[in-house]
């Protein structure tokens, strides 16, 4: 025991520093890397944008499309978006090397078609989300008039007593 232990150990172990970036670094399963959205599964419900702590995920409307955007420059890789996604459309990859000289590389964008309100002509929801609403209602044994479904939230509330054709069908 003593000074020689350190020397012996140093010779025995040798160099442990990896020659990164010239070697590949393995990460374990369950690593929280770059989040990606599956464009086929996403319904544009915006649950992820509500829960994202640093506001890396945002949703906005652009010319009849709902844009879901991840900006990796803000992302903290917590994976809360993947937790709350009702369609399991968001997953975390094993990628962690995001350095780039072009800021546009840090954006990940999903475009989803939106529908117009039949009263005011305003875009208010995505097609897929409305379809999902109908499906969910069916599962619960409820049916909803397409006439009401195609209205934006404000116009659904107007005269709703007379308009809502909700019928509970007991199975």
């Amino acid at each position: 025991m003593g000074r020689s232990t350190f020397l012996k150990k140093a010779i025995e172990v040798g160099v442990v520093t990896k020659r990164y970036p010239y070697t590949v670094v393995e990460v374990p399963d369950g690593f929280r890397g770059r989040p990606i959205i599956d464009g086929d599964k996403c319904i544009g419900c915006c649950a992820c944008t509500a829960v994202c702590p640093p506001n890396a995920l945002s949703a906005y409307e652009d010319d009849g499309y709902r844009i879901i955007r991840i900006f990796y420059g803000r992302c903290i890789f917590c994976g809360r978006c993947a937790d709350v996604c009702p369609e399991n459309a968001i997953s975390l990859t094993k990628e962690f090397e995001l350095t780039t000289d072009d800021p546009n590389d840090l954006n990940y964008i999903i475009k989803l078609k939106m529908v117009k309100c039949i009263i005011c002509g305003r875009y208010f929801d995505t097609e897929r989300h409305l379809k999902k609403v109908i499906e969910n209602m069916k599962e619960m044994g409820l049916e909803i008039d397409t006439d009401i479904l195609m209205r934006c939230p404000e116009h659904r509330n107007l005269n709703n007593a007379s308009l809502i054709g909700l019928r509970r069908e007991f199975k």
């Binding site: 025991m1 150990k9 369950g30 702590p53 640093p54 903290i76 917590c78 809360r80």
Partner: protein, 551 residues
């Protein structure tokens, strides 16, 4: 409760309101009696000072409120003394004369809330930058969290005057031992430090304000985790526990165990990091490499369990997000066995490196009395003979079901602080093994969580650097009303000037590092010699060389 009876007996006519929990007493007193009652709690009841919180409660009851928090370690009890002040005349008596530890906390309240403490011995700025205008107080509720355009004013920080024969050795604005920009000004006479001043908070980020203004309950654990780059998990745990205690949320036992395991893994890698850095500063780079090499598998274990080597993102209110399965647990046990063997070899051989031991023995002494007066925490306290450890004194997570030793040394020098950390690493390995062995089955997160508005939450955890306090008041609409974080270094840093006095300049880096701040290689030091009127800037390497050449 015995303590409360004592307090009420002594101050019957002044206590307006009190509220008791199993480990908390909140009493509300008139502001004029505050110094007397605080001094009674600190000196007669043997409590240690934790922190003070200033809250702008004008939207609730039209008052500013100050909470002084004390901890009686031997009884697992926190005493919160609250007092209110009229916003029109925001003046209240200072408790600093009896409790020097309150110095920083009161200055912070003066800066951020604009409550003036009469009789404060050192009412200079602490948190706000020098060019911040007077009369703008960021923690008031009418100051928006995203407000940017503050008119800056020209002003310099009033440092103490230089006496004849002294010269100034500024360490900073980047510190040789800390990641953050912090500034020590050493007053040196013939190579001996006669006095030291500290000016920090160069990176005050206003995390508390952002959390109050923008984030929801379950988003805050992630920002809490980013308060510290090394011991982040303990902050998010502390925040979650504070909310859980406020809203009476029971978390599953399994989640408590997982939190404990992660907290201890964090302690191991934090202490190993510190040990490496300390040896590096002393010029023993072989030891530095050794520590950092055996630290790396621990980081890999963290990555395996949580998905990232740092910022684990595991905590949510009510539990944790990921489970530890059998396979992972076996790998943790395997690596810990390896770590114990290698670290044992290391600690057995370290005393034979005499030049290292000579540099840390009887250097940077902090005596027990000063330590208590300043209410230092963690290894700094335990190295000075203050027997306190939150894990044992205020048990949280799974620590109440696990027994462990708390190493205490009475010498108060750098060596004692080093030995405390070395022994803690072995204890942490034992704790993790015990926890993995006895981890109960079940769910990992509580369901149906309901938040109660306008209740107090207080929680403490033992971070690798010491006691970590989160105090909060819940609010409405899924937001907190006030969140106060007191990191351990906040209590430890004021003790550094005491350690530095009478020491050699070359010992300054290791003394400052001995309370365990982090190291940054971009640091540099400027030497100003007033007699010769020369200014020389040393790079960090040159400064470390100076430190190594010594003795």
């Amino acid at each position: 409760m015995y303590i409360l009876n004592e307090l009420i007996k002594e101050f019957r006519e002044y206590i307006k309101y009190h509220f008791i929990n199993h480990n908390k007493i909140l009493i509300e007193v008139d502001k004029n009696i505050l110094p007397k009652i605080s001094s009674y709690i600190f000196n007669n009841l043997g409590a240690l000072y934790c922190t003070s919180v200033g809250v702008d409660e004008r939207p609730l009851n039209g008052l500013f409120k100050i909470y002084h928090i004390f901890s009686i370690d031997r009884m697992n009890l926190f005493i919160i003394v609250a007092s209110s002040v009229d916003p029109a005349i925001p003046k209240m008596p200072s408790i600093v004369n009896d409790i020097p530890a309150a110095n920083w906390a009161e200055r912070e309240i003066m800066d951020l809330l604009g409550v003036v403490f009469d009789g404060h011995s050192d009412p200079r700025r602490l948190v706000l930058p020098d060019d911040w205008p007077n009369g703008v107080y960021p923690l008031r509720k009418d100051f928006k969290y995203n407000f940017k355009e503050v008119a800056r004013v020209e002003k310099k920080y009033p440092f103490r005057k230089i006496e004849y024969g002294e010269y100034i050795l500024p360490i900073g604005p980047y510190h040789p031992a800390l990641h953050e920009p912090e500034y020590f000004r050493l007053y040196v006479k013939r190579g001996t430090i006669v006095d030291a001043e500290y000016r920090g908070f160069g990176v005050y980020r206003g995390i508390e304000k952002v959390a109050e203004g923008r984030l929801t309950y379950n988003q805050i654990p992630f920002i809490a985790e980013r308060i510290c780059g090394i011991c982040g998990f303990t902050h998010s745990t502390c925040y979650c526990q504070a909310i859980e205690s406020a809203c009476k949320i029971d978390i599953p036992e399994r989640a408590e165990y997982i939190r404990t395991i992660m907290l201890e893994l964090e302690r191991i890698h934090s202490h190993l990091l510190w040990l490496g850095v300390a040896l590096h500063i002393l010029g023993f780079d072989t030891g530095f490499m050794y520590c950092w090499r055996i630290r790396e598998p621990i980081m890999d274990l963290c990555e395996l369990i949580s998905g990232n080597r740092k910022t684990y993102g595991l905590n949510l209110i009510g539990g944790v997000r990921r489970d530890i399965d059998k396979d992972k647990s076996n790998r943790v046990i395997k690596h810990l066995k390896e770590l114990r063997r290698e670290f044992k070899e290391f600690t057995d051989s370290l005393p034979s490196i005499r030049e290292v031991i000579a540099r840390i023995e009887n250097v940077g002494i902090l005596d027990r009395n000063t330590a208590r007066k300043l209410s230092v925490v963690g290894p700094t306290a335990r190295g000075s003979g203050l027997d306190r450890d939150v894990r044992r004194d205020h048990p949280y997570a799974a620590y109440k079901r696990i027994s462990f030793k708390v190493p205490v040394y009475s010498e108060g020098d750098v060596y004692a602080r080093l030995m405390v950390r070395v022994e803690e690493i072995f204890e942490s390995i034992n704790i993790i093994e015990h926890a993995l062995d006895s981890i109960p089955e079940g769910s990992i997160i509580a369901e149906n969580i309901e938040f109660i508005p306008k209740v107090y939450g207080l929680s403490a955890t033992e971070a690798p650097r010491g006691e970590n306090i989160h105090f909060l008041i819940t609010g409405i609409e899924n937001r907190i009303y006030r969140w106060k974080v007191r990191a351990p270094t906040y209590n430890n840093l004021p003790s550094v000037p005491y350690m530095l006095k009478g020491e050699n300049v070359a010992d300054a880096p290791i003394i400052i590092a001995s309370i365990d701040p982090c190291f940054s290689c971009t640091d540099r030091v400027t030497i100003v010699d007033l007699d010769k009127k020369y200014v020389k800037t040393l790079s960090s390497n040159e400064f470390i060389k100076l430190a190594r050449r010594w003795r």
